[in-house]
Symmetry: C2
Subunit: 306 residues, 2 copies
């Protein structure tokens, strides 16, 4: 095997109560990558479609992640990477993570799997630095491991693939507005009230207990964010309306996907998700701003050969 | 049935990463209560041994909790309560909660169980006000439900009895020093750093995922507290030494029980717990301060008829 085609799924980070630690993997939305083993050493990005991204390996998320992996393997050959972006950059559903995770997953396959999916997270995080300036795992972890993931901590990196019920579907509404990463960070406060932190970790605990015990009611009651959402939602026109429409249509919960601007909802079953998607779309039409809407089952496998 | 004897177990709240939300129930340490159905309406505390506590119903934790329950049932008879304290007040292992939980549990049994154990939490919390000035559930919940519990939130009260592996044992070292509740509150800061909160909820998530998946390693890695312990440990002489001795002897983790001064450790299996208890005791001997040490399996059932 010298060439493989990879499906690199989109992901939702934070999930309201799990800022910077929780994420889940989507099924219906993702990039495609083609990775080719070649005689010439090093990593070359040979083609990018669907986005205006740098071809220089050291400036490209996938290139940097791939280099980190290659460095650890001391291979005497190299790889070419084609990236076909379907996940829009800056949408808040892990566009850069999909590229980073796809690159390390694909190369690892062509190398005969020297690393586990868990071990690949660390390499993919190196790619995230190019996109966001920091190594973080809350999108690359679900992309590589599938399902719902928890980043317990970074020193050392400790990523948990959690159990979850099989009937959870996600809806993602991506408004075509740009929210600069610098803006979505600037609205956050470096300190928070202890009482809000207690509320937040009660909900985080409830969400995880709900996932393991397959208690949809508990999952829904726990999908709350009293810390980040109140600050960031002002960057997303009609956020409250869309969120309320999701709840009214039967969603378990809804919130900001990653740093936004995408708005996500979790639902029990596909029918419910489609009703919720319809309600969220209707509610966003008022703005006159174009948007995409996606309905996706949670992807239990993560990035995979296509 | 007109009289029952109740075992009212001690509890450990917080468990490092779950300040104000997590708790667990102990097996080997607890009070005894005798509850008697009598013709005269109301609640009377007829006897207290082992502690200098008020006999006036309205000033007694058990009395106030019992009155709250009685009010909800409109009984045309009453109850007498005897309290035999074994859990020392102010030790940090839920002394007042044991009394509050025991009273409502016992009366509920004599009434033919009109309420579930979950429903009794709300009544027991009323008793906590007498002891601490606020309604909180992090000790009464594990006392009533057994095992590990999570208080997801208070509006409305939402208490979760979690799954956990069967071989967890707790060690509790109770130094005979007084830490005033006002002091243990005064050292806390009303605001915390967002980055510390993220570390804390990563660990809380890890602990809960570890409990459900019966992953002792993950439980151990998650038993950390970067927010409360650094502030409160200065009130407990030799805290770091005792904690380190627990880790060195093989404990999964260790920390402050509730608001202290008791120091707890969690261990896998009874043998490990006994080794840890020996090490913690040795480490505390230096202080010259008297102490008790307890080794207890986690109590899956909670408060019960004896």
């Amino acid at each position: 095997m010298t060439e493989i085609k990879i499906f690199c799924p989109a992901t939702i980070a934070n999930l309201n109560c799990g800022f910077d630690v929780l994420g889940l993997c989507l099924e219906g939305i993702g990039d495609e990558m083609i990775i080719r083993k070649v005689a010439e050493k090093g990593i070359r990005i040979t083609k990018i479609t669907g986005a205006d991204l740098p071809l220089e390996t050291e400036k490209n998320v996938a290139g940097v992640a791939a280099l980190a992996l290659l460095k650890a393997t001391q291979s005497d050959f190299g790889f070419e990477i084609e990236i076909h972006k379907k996940i829009k950059a800056g949408s808040g559903i892990g566009s850069s993570s999909a590229s980073a995770a796809g690159a390390v997953f694909g190369i690892n396959e062509l190398l005969g799997r020297p690393f586990t999916r868990h071990e690949l997270v660390e390499f993919a995080m190196k790619g995230e630095v190019v996109a966001s300036g920091s190594e973080h795992a809350d999108n690359v972890a679900p992309c590589l491991l599938g399902g719902f993931t928890l980043v317990r901590g970074y020193n050392p990196l400790d990523v948990i693939r959690m159990e979850s019920p099989s009937e959870i579907y996600a809806v993602v509404l991506h408004p075509h507005i740009e929210v600069k990463t610098s803006d979505s960070r600037a609205v956050l406060s470096p300190t928070i009230a202890l009482k809000d932190a207690i509320t937040q970790w009660g909900n985080l605990g409830g969400l995880i207990a709900g996932l393991y015990s397959k208690d949809y009611g508990l999952i829904g009651r726990s999908l709350q964010d009293v810390i980040i959402e109140p600050l960031r939602k002002k960057l997303i026109l009609n956020f409250d309306q869309v969120k309320n429409s999701a709840h009214d249509a039967g969603a378990l919960g809804a919130g900001i996907s990653g740093a936004g601007p995408s708005i996500f909802a979790l639902c029990k079953g596909q029918n419910s998700a489609e009703e919720v998607a319809f309600a969220m779309s209707n509610s966003y039409l008022d703005t006159g701003i174009p948007f995409d809407i996606h309905v996706s089952r949670v992807n239990a496998e993560g990035v995979r050969i296509k």
